[in-house]
C-alpha cells in the first residue's frame, strides 16, 4: 500500500491523538473526525486512505483509550511507523488490526508529505529514494495481525489455537 507521510514528533500521547473531551462516544465517525484534532488540525481533512503516520519515541503514551488507534484506523491510515510505541497503544492497535511497525530511523529520514509504500507484514518501508527495514509485530501480536483482529482470532480458534501454535488466518 502506498500513501503520504504525516510526520509527528516524540511522545505523541493518546491525549494528543484523541483528547479526553472528544472520546465520550463510541461512534466511529465522531472518533474519526476528532483524530489529532489539536495536535495536527489539518490531519482529518487532508488524510487519504493509504497514508501513514511516522513518529519518534513512545508513540501513543498515556491513556489506554482504544478510541485513539480506532480514530487513526477509521481515517484509513495504512500503518503507524514509530521509533517506539507505548505498550497499551501498540497492543490496542494490533487488536483492532491497525498495522504498527517499529523503525528507529524512519522519522529521521522521511519528510512530511513523502510518498512511501509499506508492507505491514514484512515491515518494509520504501520511498522514492530510500528503503528501510522496520520491525513488524511478532509472536502473539503477529498471530492477531494474521487473523485480522483479536476478536477474529478468538472467534476462529480461541486461546487454544494460540496455545497449540495453530495459525488461524
Amino acid at each position: 500500500m502506498s500513501g503520504r507521510v504525516f510526520l509527528l514528533g516524540d511522545g505523541v500521547s493518546t491525549d494528543a491523538i484523541m483528547p479526553g473531551r472528544y472520546n465520550v462516544t463510541t461512534d466511529p465517525d465522531a472518533l474519526r473526525r476528532s483524530c489529532l484534532i489539536e495536535a495536527r488540525p489539518d490531519f482529518v481533512e487532508s488524510v487519504r486512505p493509504g497514508d501513514v503516520i511516522v513518529a519518534g519515541r513512545n508513540f501513543g503514551c498515556g491513556s489506554s483509550r482504544e478510541h485513539a488507534p480506532l480514530s487513526i484506523k477509521r481515517n484509513g491510515v495504512a500503518a503507524v511507523i514509530a521509533e517506539s510505541f507505548a505498550r497499551i497503544f501498540y497492543r490496542n492497535a494490533v487488536n483492532i488490526g491497525l498495522p504498527v511497525i517499529r523503525c528507529a530511523e524512519a522519522h529521521q529520514v522521511l519528510r512530511d508529505g513523502d510518498q512511501v509504500s509499506v508492507d505491514a507484514i514484512t515491515g518494509s518501508i520504501r520511498s522514492a529514494t530510500l528503503t528501510l527495514q522496520g520491525e513488524p509485530p511478532s509472536g502473539v501480536a503477529l498471530r492477531i495481525i494474521e487473523a485480522g483482529s483479536l476478536v477474529e482470532l478468538i472467534k476462529r480458534g480461541g486461546w487454544a489455537a494460540l496455545e497449540e501454535g495453530r495459525r488461524v488466518s
Binding site: G11, S13, D15, A16, P19, G20, R21, N23, V24, T25, T26, E38, A39, R57, N58, C61, G62, S63, S64, R65, E66, H67, P69, L70, S84, A86, R87, I88, R91, N92, N95, I96, G139, V140, S149, L150, V151, I154, K155, G158, W159, L162, E163
Partner: protein, 412 residues
C-alpha cells in the same frame, strides 16, 4: 528463582515462568469504566460468546460521573443495561475506579487484575500483578476470563533510608521518572522496594504503582508484607524475590530528596521545587488516582487549616472515593477545605483529564496532584500543567503560586 512478577506468575500457573515467556492466564477480576466500558461491551458482543463470570467483572462510573453531556449519559445507559442483562452487580458510581477496587478489596495480594485504564497498575500497591489493557482485550476477558501476557523483565527501584519530612511518595516517584525518562520502563515490571517503601502505608504504595505506568511500565508492584495483609485481611503469601535478575536497578537515597515538580509538557521534565517556586497559578487540583486518598487530604488539610486560598487560584479538591470522602468528613477535612475557599467536588476523576469540571483555558497554569501533564490533558492545549504532591499543591493554593510548604511554614 525470580522477580516478584516471575514468582507471582509461577505460583499462579503452577510452573516456573521467566521474563520473555508468553503465557495465557486466567485473571481474577476485569475492570472497565464509563469511557472504556462501552467499547469493551462492543468487543464482547461481537464475539457472540457467553459471559465468563459476572462476579468477576467490575464497572465504575468515574470519568464523567454524574454525566455532564447527553453523550456521557448514553455511555452510562449502555453499561447499566449490559449489567442488568448479564446480572453484573459490581457496578459502582462511588469514585475513581482504582480507589474503589482497593476500597472494596477487589484487588488482592498475589492476584492478577486487568483493567481498561492505564492506571490499573495502581493495585500493585497491594501486591498483585495489575495492568492496563484496551477495551478489546477487556471485552475478550469478559467472554473467556483469560488474556495473554509476555512475562516482563523487571526494573528494581531500591529506595534506601527514609523520606525527609515534607517529602512524599509522589516526590519519590517523580524523582525516579526523571532518572528513568518517560519511557524508561517500557514493557517492564517496576519493583518498588527498600527501607523507605517497606515503611510506607498502602496509600503511599498505591501512589508509586499508579505512577509506574507513566514511565512506561506494564505493572508496578510492592512485595506484599504485614502492611499489605493487614489491609487485605487475607492469608499471607510469600512473593519474596529469589535470586532475581533485573534489567536495571536504580538505587535512590530517600533522605536526599526535595519536593519535586514535573513541569509542562512532560512528566519526566522534573525539577526541584526551588527551580519553579513563584510561578503564578490559575488553578490547583488536589485529587486523582495518584493523590486523592485520605492521607493526601490529611496533608492538604493540615496546610489549609485556618487559612484561605489565594483569590486568583481556583482550588478544586476531589476525594478519590466515597470511602475517602466519608473519612475526610469525619476527620473535619472537608470543612477545612470549604472554609479555605476550595471547591470540594464529588468523588471521581475530577479535572484530571479535562472532561468535566475544572477545565483549564488557554495560557492558564495549573498545578495538579495527578499523573499527566501532556498538552491538552486538562483542557486547552495551550495551558501549562505542573504535577506535584498534595503538600506542594496546598501551599501553592494559599500563595497563588508554586510554593514549597516549608517556606510557607517559615513565613507563618
Amino acid at each position: 528463582m525470580g522477580t516478584i512478577t516471575e514468582e507471582l506468575f509461577s505460583r499462579r500457573l503452577g510452573r516456573r515462568v521467566h521474563a520473555g515467556d508468553t503465557v495465557i492466564a486466567e485473571v481474577d477480576v476485569a475492570m472497565a469504566h464509563d469511557v472504556t466500558g462501552p467499547l469493551a461491551i462492543e468487543a464482547f458482543r461481537s464475539l457472540d460468546l457467553p459471559l465468563w463470570d459476572a462476579s468477576r467483572i467490575v464497572f465504575n462510573f468515574d470519568h464523567v460521573m454524574p454525566a455532564n453531556t447527553v453523550a456521557a449519559a448514553e455511555l452510562h445507559r449502555v453499561i447499566r443495561e449490559f449489567c442488568v442483562e448479564h446480572r453484573i452487580t459490581n457496578l459502582f458510581a462511588e469514585g475513581i475506579c482504582h480507589q474503589v477496587m482497593v476500597d472494596r478489596r477487589l484487588a488482592q495480594p498475589g492476584g492478577i487484575v486487568v483493567g481498561a485504564d492505564s492506571h490499573s497498575t495502581t493495585y500493585g500497591g497491594v501486591g498483585c500483578f495489575a495492568t492496563g489493557l484496551g477495551s478489546t482485550d477487556i471485552g475478550v476477558v469478559f467472554a473467556t476470563g483469560r488474556t495473554w501476557f509476555r512475562i516482563p523483565e523487571t526494573v528494581r527501584i531500591d529506595v534506601r533510608g527514609a523520606l525527609p519530612a515534607g517529602v512524599y511518595a509522589k516526590d519519590l516517584a517523580l524523582h525516579v521518572i526523571a532518572q528513568m525518562g518517560a519511557d524508561g520502563a517500557d514493557y517492564c515490571a517496576v519493583e518498588w522496594g527498600g527501607e523507605a517503601v517497606a515503611a510506607m502505608t498502602i496509600d503511599e504504595r498505591l501512589t508509586l504503582c499508579n505512577l509506574s505506568t507513566d514511565f512506561g511500565a506494564k505493572t508496578g508492584i510492592v512485595e506484599p508484607d504485614a502492611v499489605t495483609f493487614a489491609h487485605s485481611g487475607g492469608e499471607p503469601i510469600d512473593l519474596h524475590p529469589s535470586h532475581p535478575e533485573y534489567v536495571r536497578t536504580l538505587v535512590v537515597d530517600a533522605g536526599s530528596l526535595r519536593p519535586q515538580v514535573a513541569v509542562h509538557p512532560s512528566i519526566d521534565n522534573v525539577h526541584d521545587i526551588d527551580d519553579v517556586s513563584g510561578t503564578p497559578l490559575d488553578e490547583v487540583f488536589i485529587g486523582s488516582c495518584t493523590n486523592g486518598r485520605l492521607s493526601d487530604l490529611a496533608v492538604a488539610a493540615s496546610i489549609l487549616s485556618g487559612r484561605t486560598v489565594h483569590p486568583r487560584t481556583r482550588t478544586v479538591i476531589v476525594p478519590a472515593s466515597r470511602g475517602v470522602y466519608l473519612e475526610a468528613l469525619s476527620a473535619g477535612y472537608i470543612e477545612i477545605f470549604a472554609r479555605a475557599g476550595a471547591l470540594v467536588l464529588n468523588p471521581g476523576c475530577g479535572p484530571c483529564l479535562g472532561r468535566q469540571h475544572g477545565v483549564v483555558g488557554p495560557g492558564e497554569r495549573v498545578l495538579s496532584t495527578s499523573n499527566r501533564n501532556y498538552p491538552g490533558r486538562m483542557g486547552s492545549p495551550d495551558a501549562q500543567i505542573f504535577l506535584a504532591s498534595p503538600a506542594v499543591a496546598a501551599a501553592s493554593a494559599l500563595a497563588g503560586a508554586i510554593t514549597d510548604p516549608a517556606a510557607l511554614e517559615a513565613a507563618a
